[in-house]
C-alpha cells in the first residue's frame, strides 16, 4: 500500500480486463459522482464516460484479451490550488495494452448512421479535460469533470 497524496477523496481500483467487471466499476463511479455533489444526470454521464474508456481499453488496447490489468484512480479535488481553477472529479486510467494514435481517439463524424465509433465521442462530449499519453509500456488517460455546481447540502451521497 503505497502512501498517496492525501488531497481530496481518493479511490483506486485495480481490475482485470473482464467485461463482467464493467458494472462493478460503474457501481463505484456512480456513487463517487454523487458524493462529489454532481447533479443526477451528470452522475450518469460521468459514469458512462468512464465506462466507455474502460470498454475501449478492453476492446482496443487489449484487443479483447481477458485478465489483463487496468488501473483506475479517482480523485475529488477542491478548488483551492495553483493551476487548478475548478473543483473537479478526476479519473486516471492506466493499462499495459497496445498504444493508440491520438488521432484515432478523435472518433468519427456522426452524420453517418452506422454502428461503432461512438465511445470516444461520448467521452469528449461529457468530460471537460481529456489527456492521453503513452508512458513507457503503459497507456495513460486522464479524464476530468468540473464540479461547477455547488456540492449539495445533503448529509450524504447515499447509496
Amino acid at each position: 500500500m503505497a502512501s498517496e497524496e492525501n488531497e481530496g477523496l481518493v479511490l483506486k481500483l485495480e481490475l482485470h480486463s473482464d467485461p463482467e467487471l464493467l458494472c462493478v466499476v460503474r457501481g463505484a463511479v456512480q456513487q463517487l459522482a454523487e458524493v462529489a455533489g454532481l447533479p443526477e444526470a451528470e452522475c450518469r454521464s460521468v459514469t458512462l464516460a468512464v465506462d466507455e474508456a474502460l470498454t475501449n481499453i478492453i476492446r482496443h488496447a487489449y484487443q479483447g484479451q481477458r485478465g489483463r490489468p487496468i488501473q483506475l484512480s479517482c480523485r475529488c479535488l477542491g478548488p483551492a490550488a495553483p493551476g487548478r481553477p475548478q473543483a473537479q472529479l478526476e479519473f486516471v486510467l492506466v493499462d499495459r495494452g497496445r498504444g493508440v494514435d491520438p488521432a484515432e481517439l478523435r472518433g468519427r463524424p456522426l452524420d453517418e448512421v452506422r454502428p461503432g465509433g461512438l465511445g470516444t465521442h461520448f467521452i469528449r462530449e461529457i468530460m471537460d479535460e481529456i489527456e492521453y499519453e503513452r508512458r513507457g509500456d503503459c497507456n495513460w488517460l486522464r479524464l476530468v469533470k468540473y464540479l461547477t455546481k455547488q456540492k449539495s447540502s445533503e448529509t450524504s451521497g447515499g447509496g
Binding site: 450518469r44 458512462l48 456522426l110 448512421v113 461512438l118
Partner: protein, 110 residues
C-alpha cells in the same frame, strides 16, 4: 441484463431490462438479428422501459438492428425510453433516427 421475446400479432416484442454494456450487448444484437433475419418479423419492437443504462456498444447493437430492418424492408421500433436511454441516444445524435413510441399500443399500431 435480461432479455426475452414475445409475439403480438405479426410484431415481435423484445423486452430488455437492466444494463446494456460491452458484456451483454452481443446478446442484444443476436436476439434482434434473429427476430429480423430468421423469424422474418415485419415489425420488431424493442421494449427498453426497464433499461437503466446503455453504453455505446448497446447503441451500436440497436443501430445494427435498424440497418438490417431497413435492408429487409421490416421495421424496428424503440419503446419506452427512460431518461438515461434518451440522454445516450441524444449524445449519439440518433434520437431522430429511431422510431420511438411511449406505449405498446402505439408501437403496435404506428
Amino acid at each position: 441484463m435480461q432479455i426475452s421475446t414475445r409475439q403480438s400479432g405479426k410484431a415481435t416484442i423484445v423486452d430488455v431490462s437492466g444494463d446494456i454494456d460491452l458484456y451483454n450487448s452481443p446478446e442484444v444484437r443476436k436476439v434482434l438479428l434473429a427476430a429480423l433475419r430468421e423469424e422474418r418479423a415485419p415489425r420488431v419492437i424493442v421494449n427498453l422501459r426497464e433499461v437503466r443504462y446503455i453504453d455505446s456498444s448497446g447503441v451500436a447493437s440497436l443501430v445494427e438492428g435498424l440497418k438490417v430492418s431497413r435492408e429487409l424492408g421490416s421495421r424496428l421500433v424503440l419503446l419506452g425510453l427512460s431518461q438515461a436511454v434518451r440522454d445516450v441516444l441524444e449524445l449519439s445524435r440518433l434520437n431522430k433516427v429511431f422510431e420511438v413510441c411511449d406505449t405498446e399500443e402505439q408501437a403496435l399500431r404506428s
